[in-house]
């Protein structure tokens, strides 16, 4: 029962990932793509945590930590580039 509801939650997170991927491809300008990349990062963090639960391997959650740190760096770099050049 619980595993079934968890699977539905993970599927909805994957659906949200696919929907926000559309904005990366079709975004009219740069800022829309950066916003969509930020959201996709958070969605993929949730997906990685869900995979940790699904596959039962504790080491996977470290990847979520590393990925959160690194993508924050990337978004800050892009914002600084937009503001005044890197």
């Amino acid at each position: 029962m619980a595993d079934f509801i968890y699977s539905i939650a993970g599927s909805i997170a994957l659906l949200a990932f696919v929907i926000s991927f559309y904005r990366i491809i079709a975004g009219p300008e740069l800022a829309d793509r950066v916003v969509a990349l930020d959201t996709m990062t958070i969605l993929s963090l949730s997906g990685i945590v869900f995979l940790t639960h699904l596959l039962g391997r504790m080491i996977y959650i470290d990847i979520a930590l590393v990925y959160g740190l690194m993508s924050f760096l990337g978004v800050i770099a892009v914002a600084r580039y937009i503001e005044r050049g890197l």
Binding site: M1, A2, D3, I5, Y6, I8, A9, G10, I12, A13, L15, A16, F17, I19, S20, Y22, R23, E29, A31, D32, V34, V35, A36, D38, T39, I42, L43, L45, S46, V49, F50, T52, H53, M58, I61, D62, A64, L65, G68, L69, F72, V75, I76, V78, A79, R80, I82, E83, R84
Partner: protein
């Protein structure tokens, strides 16, 4: 068992918030609106998702707590930095006629006068 089902339901609510964030990303008309919808809803949704997974899987509490704190700090911060950069390159919001307060521009003008 009850705790697992409770955690699964909380994770389901969180994933619905994540879906709401992505629908806001594709349906909102303007970059600032997209930023607001995408960041706030996805922060709440991912925190609920982490809480749900942590209730169902008791060995993950420490790292999930660190990850939640990290998301809670960095996600509004990156959104703020991005909105500030867009404001400084002169991109105006869509509904500026309805409420044309611009506190950041006023503050910057005051700082230039000083």
């Amino acid at each position: 068992m009850v705790l697992e089902i409770l955690g699964a339901l909380i994770a389901l609510i969180g994933s619905l918030f994540l879906l709401l964030a992505s629908i806001g990303i594709i349906r909102m008309p303007d970059t600032y609106n997209r930023m607001q919808a995408g960041t706030k809803a996805s922060t709440l949704g991912s925190l609920l998702f982490f809480l749900g997974i942590g209730l169902g899987h008791s060995g993950l509490w420490g790292k999930l707590l660190v990850l939640s704190l990290f998301v809670l700090i960095t996600n509004p911060l990156s959104s703020h930095v991005l909105a500030r950069a867009l404001h400084f390159i002169g991109k105006s919001p869509l509904l500026v006629g309805y409420d044309s307060r611009d506190d950041l521009a006023d503050d910057m003008n005051q700082m230039e006068e000083l």
